[in-house]
């Protein structure tokens, strides 16, 4: 029993320290969100032209357009991909996705080739099938020294004409289309991928379905 008070002091300090550390971590995690929303990046962007559309066509006048600037090799874009698909499924008439390429080639050496693969599939009317496959199999091709062979195999699984696909992979016109998107991203001062906009307003959506739904709902009821 004599030893008890001696052990209690350090135990109290340990419990207090864990509590203070947790409080500091919560405070810092909130603080960095505020920094992100008040950074130099403009809160609005007028993205003109380009992009691939998914969801209601423009004739059907969806209430909201979710613009995504993404990089097929970026793991966080891959992590957000199922959430984006689900949110489109939840709001089939109100929400439309407009995807723009922003391959960060300095850190993702296969990202440009992946964007080319998506565009090449798009030439045969299967952009979104390739878009989904690129994110779903990202881990397989991302670190490959020869990703094109994998893209060709994916194109074959989708049912694309292989020769036409391979030719399109080298198309300077398609590359130009991607570079135009990169210019749009730079004009909008995008410094991270994925970056989302809803009706031109920059969004900071957390990696959770609840936050996605909350963000969309708040714009639907504006």
């Amino acid at each position: 029993m004599r030893g008890m008070p001696k052990a209690i002091k350090p135990l109290i300090i340990i419990i207090l320290a864990v509590g203070v550390a947790a409080g500091a971590a919560v405070y810092l995690s909130r603080g960095s969100d505020e920094t992100a929303t008040t950074s130099d990046a403009p809160t609005h962007a007028d993205i003109k032209g380009g992009g691939h559309f998914r969801g209601p066509l423009s004739g059907e006048k969806p209430e909201l357009t979710l613009v995504e600037f993404g990089d097929y090799q970026c793991p966080s874009c891959g992590a957000y991909h199922p959430l984006v698909k689900e949110i489109l499924d939840r709001y089939p008439k109100q929400l439309r996705l407009e995807f723009h390429h922003y391959p960060l080639i300095s850190i993702h050496p296969n990202s440009m080739a992946a964007s080319m693969a998506a565009e090449a599939a798009g030439e045969q009317g299967h952009y979104w099938e390739m878009h989904d496959a690129l994110f779903e199999y990202q881990m397989q091709w991302a670190s490959s020294p020869n990703p094109e062979a994998m893209f060709i195999a994916m194109a074959s699984r989708i049912g694309l004409n292989q020769n036409a696909f391979m030719q399109a992979l080298r198309s300077p016109e398609l590359q130009q289309r991607i570079l135009k998107d990169v210019e749009r991203a730079q004009e909008a001062k995008i410094d991270a991928v994925p970056t989302f906009f809803i009706n031109g307003e920059r969004q900071h959506i957390k990696l959770s379905m609840d936050d996605f739904v909350q963000t969309v709902e708040s714009h639907l009821h504006k």
């Binding site: 340990i14 947790a22 810092l28 995690s29 793991p75 850190i107 050496p109 959506i205 959770s208």
Partner: protein, 142 residues
Amino acid sequence: MKLRAALVALLAFIGMVDALYLSIKRNTGPIPCHVTHGCTDVLTSKYSSIGPIPLSWFGLAFYVTIFSLAVFKLFEDSKNPASGPLSVIFYLSGAALIVSALLVGIQAFILKAFCEYCLLSAALVLMIFLLSPHPTPRKLPA
């Protein structure tokens, strides 16, 4: 010796904040990088967890253990010092140092992206290891 234990406790406390911050941010959205580039890439990669358990949780368990050992060392009876806590810190931080080196290697050579919070953790582990005294073999009584 007590000064070393106090410094180890301080470093472990910083490590706890770092690991807790990463555990929170992992579930709540993009992780801002202020010094390096690619925090989110690193922290959402397949190397960022073992099964469903994020590495930051292992880091948190490590730092809480180190902090507790250092605090117990600070409160030990100076007339009858025990070499236990600091030698456990030495072996634990040695193992953590190997894991940290491996993780820094993954960032540099596989992901080609760095996370400043992970680099901070690696630096903390290195400092804790250097501060913990190398256990010396006890001489047997003649």
